[in-house]
Structures are given as structure tokens and as C-alpha cells.
Amino acid sequence: MIEYDSANRPPAVIDEFIQLIHYRDLIFLMVGNILKNRYKRSVLGIFWMLLNPLLQTVVLTIAFGTMFKSSLPNYAVYLLSGLLAWNFITQTTQYAMGAMAYGGGLLKRIYIPRATYIVAAVGNGLINLLVSIGSLVIIILFLAHPITVAWLFLPVSILILTIFSLGLALLLSTASVFFTDTVDIYQVLVQALFFLTPIMYPASILPAELSQVLALNPFVILIEIFRIPIYTNHFPDFNLVISAISLALITLVAGWILFTSKADQLAYRL
């Protein structure tokens, strides 16, 4: 028979994981429902998901494409591949914080694993990313940009991005429950970082001193790991892969430890 003993349970880091596995169908349903709700009312349905990045790319390419014509041939491919990685990380984390702060009322009313919303938010972001890669392929075919064996590295890139985003989402969601302005502060930081990350422009236009500082921007590594196989058509070099994997794993471990150690307080705080 099932037993619950509040004084005698596995350590929080393990307990939360076991519970998430047990409630996996809830996570799948939540991801499905987010998608359904978002696109039910729109006539274009899933095509809107394809169209949105296409429109974004067309507009930005018209605005900046000619400026970087020589340094970045097929600018639209460079732009969109960077943008997809960027949007995945930032939108996923923002969505997770929102779901925790506003949708987390459920956590005070019934027991579900505390990380459910966050994992569902990452799952939702992952689906958006995969669909958006469809738009990227459309642009690539249109511009006759080569698709090479380097694409075989993409699943690894996506896995790294997912691990990092989950970790960051856990860190930020915990913070947002304790400090309600975390969401706003993060929003401002994200906007600033967007211009400090070579997504719309090539890294080469930055002055030497600044590119040293840029090396400290963790987003650069993550964008590169995703963009290189698509835009430059070769496998990312070994050092880059190692730094990206380390960054992602450290973020996830830190996020998981922080989140699970505070999880019991969430129902008191939300």
C-alpha cells in the first residue's frame, strides 16, 4: 500500500524527480493543452507557428541584410538560426516564470510535482523550436543555402539548449516566487543582452576589447552551437562543444538543487 511520511522521504533532489516521472502524463497533457489553446482560435492554426519566424526574418533581412552583405552571405539563414536558439531560451524561461507565478495557483490546491509547470514550459518551447526549424528549412531551400552532414549535430545542439533552458527556468522561477519583480528585471536584461549577442550582426564587427567581454556572455556559446552546423555547415569545434555542455549541465544542476530545496516553500508563498 502507498505510504506518505512527511518525516521520512527521499532527499528533495531525488523525490521531485521520482514524482515527475510518475506524473509524466500530466506534463504531456499540459504541453498539448498549451498548444491547443494558443492555436485553437486562429484560423491559420499551426501555420501561424511557421509564419511568425518567417515574417520576423523577412522584416529584419530587409532592414539589415544589405549592411552585412559581404560578411554574411545568405543573411536570412544566419539571422534566423541565431534567432531560433535565442527565442527558444528566452521565451521558454519567460513562459516558465509566468506559469509559476500566475498559473501556479494549482500548487496550493492539490499536490502535483512542483516542477510540472516548468518542465511543461520547456516542452512547449521545444515543440515551437522544432516547428520553427521548418520555417528555417523553407528559407534555406529558397536561398539554396547548402544543407550538409553537419545537420546531424543539431539534435545534440537542441539537447544542450534544452538542458540549459530547463536549468535557467528553474533558477528564475524559484527567484520569481520569492521576488515578484524577477520577471521584469529578466525582461530588461534579455532585451539588453539581445543587442550584446551577435544574432543580427556578425561577431567580427565588434571592437576587440568588447569581444573579450562578449566571451563572458553565456548566450554566445549556446547560439553558436546551434548556428554553426546550419549556417557555416561544419561541426562545432571540440572546445566549443565542451564549454556548451558544461554550461548547460552546471545550470541544470544548480537550478534543480535550488528549486527542489525551495519547493516545499512554494505552496506557502504562491
Binding site: M1, D25, Y111
Partner: protein
């Protein structure tokens, strides 16, 4: 003691109520710069509560608004962890704290059966097997494929009750939900609770209606300001509680 269903040892649930509103990072920074700390009041919604309930017993919980009844049920159904003390529970629990927790009002009744089932910890497969029985019991009829925002509140409650009580739990926890729904639903839900009682479920009920507690329960707990004011046979406790109100 092998037939214990629920046991609480010195359970305290403490809420920390900040004197100033919204905790923001900005606020904290300002305070830190001014070398002032944030002040709190600690408030015990449950204060050193101990009791145990045997398998198959039915216990009513009474007390004024804010006495800690809902908090007690939440700590038992692991929604909140005790700040201090130990909660022990044996068996699967069906918490009827709020019917239809996690319902998504844009989704149909059918979709919500799966969603609510998942919230209660059941797999999709289990829910698929039980779908027909749940629809049948809920009496929602053709509306089952309409979004539940088109339901009346009684219909939402029926659906929530049908999902949560579809299979017999070892422990059933009820927080003032017996009064929702029409006469037909009340009869149906009471019949189902009675059936589970006869089959040996342990039942814990919060209600402001002394009669419904007397009908269902053999024991009662009277809570006041987070402590147990009285505990014993249902008649004794209810009589004393009623006397205290006049």
C-alpha cells in the same frame, strides 16, 4: 499499530506574513542599503496538532472560519509540508478539497477528465479505461464534448466529483463540497461516499453543517485558532461546539 490510516505528530504549519506588501528584489535592495530588515509576523495556522485515525473511521472537523480546517486537510494531502512535526498517511488518498482542480475552462469535459485525472496522479491509460463510467456518473450528457466554460457551476462540480471519486480510495478527504450541486447530485454523491464508507475507506470531512457531520461521522475534531479544542465522539463534540456558539 498496523491499522493506522492517518497520524499527525506535533504538526505545526506556520505562515510568514510580511508586514509590508509585495516582496520585490528592489524593495529588498532598498532595505539592505538602509540597513533595515524586512519585518514579519509568524502565524501558526496549525499549532502542535497530534492525533491518529484508524482505517475505516469517519471523522468530522468543525470550527470557526480561519480555525485551520482547510490547512489541516492540505497538510494531510501533502499540498503543504508541515513546518514542524510529522504527517503519516497509509493508502491512496482522494482529496476533494476543491472539485476540478486544474480544470481548463477552454477544454471540453472529456479533455478535462484526462487533465483532472492526470492532476490526481493517474495515467492516460487508466483514465481512458474509466472514461465511460465517469461520464455516466457525472450526468453531464451531451455537454461532455462542449468546453466547460459553457457549464453551470453545478455541472463543473459534478464532473470534478465524478473524476476524483471514480475508484475507491483508502482515504477520502472532503472540504465542504457536499453542499454544491442539486438535490439529485447530492443524493448521488452521498450514496457514493456511503458505499466507500461501507467498504472500509477512512473519511475525513470538514463541514459547517453539524447535521451532515453527525450523519456521516463517528468522531469529531473541533479546531480553534489552530489548536484542537476538543476531540471525541461526534455527539459530544458537536454539542459542546453548539453550546459555545450561543
Amino acid at each position: 499499530m498496523n491499522n493506522i490510516a492517518i497520524q499527525l505528530d506535533n504538526v505545526t504549519v506556520r505562515f510568514r506574513i510580511p508586514h509590508e506588501k509585495i516582496p520585490t528584489l528592489q524593495e529588498y535592495a532598498i532595505r539592505w542599503l538602509k540597513r533595515r530588515s524586512v519585518s514579519f509576523t509568524d502565524f501558526n495556522a496549525l499549532d502542535n496538532i497530534s492525533f491518529s485515525i484508524k482505517q475505516g473511521e469517519t471523522v468530522g472537523i468543525i470550527g470557526a472560519n480561519g480555525a485551520g480546517k482547510s490547512t489541516l486537510l492540505k497538510v494531510i494531502s501533502r499540498v503543504i509540508r508541515p513546518t514542524q512535526g510529522r504527517v503519516f498517511l497509509r493508502g491512496r488518498i482522494a482529496p476533494l478539497l476543491e472539485l476540478g482542480a486544474g480544470f481548463d475552462y477552454e477544454m471540453t469535459g472529456r479533455e478535462n477528465i484526462f487533465l483532472n485525472g492526470a492532476v490526481l496522479g493517474f495515467s492516460r491509460k487508466e483514465m481512458a479505461a474509466r472514461l465511460d463510467g465517469i461520464v455516466e456518473f457525472s450526468g453531464i450528457g451531451n455537454f461532455i464534448d462542449a468546453p466547460i466554460r459553457t457549464y453551470s457551476s453545478g455541472m463543473v462540480a459534478r464532473l470534478g466529483f465524478a473524476v476524483a471519486t471514480d475508484i475507491q480510495p483508502e482515504v477520502l478527504i472532503i472540504d465542504e463540497i457536499l453542499s454544491v450541486g442539486d438535490a439529485d447530485f447530492q443524493k448521488k454523491s452521498a450514496a457514493r461516499i456511503l458505499e466507500y464508507y461501507n467498504n472500509g475507506s477512512t473519511i475525513l470531512v470538514v463541514s459547517h453543517n453539524p447535521n451532515s457531520i453527525k450523519q456521516l461521522c463517528t468522531y469529531a475534531i473541533w479546531l480553534e485558532h489552530g489548536i484542537i479544542k476538543m476531540m471525541g465522539s461526534v455527539d459530544d463534540v458537536i454539542n459542546n461546539y453548539s453550546l459555545s456558539l450561543v
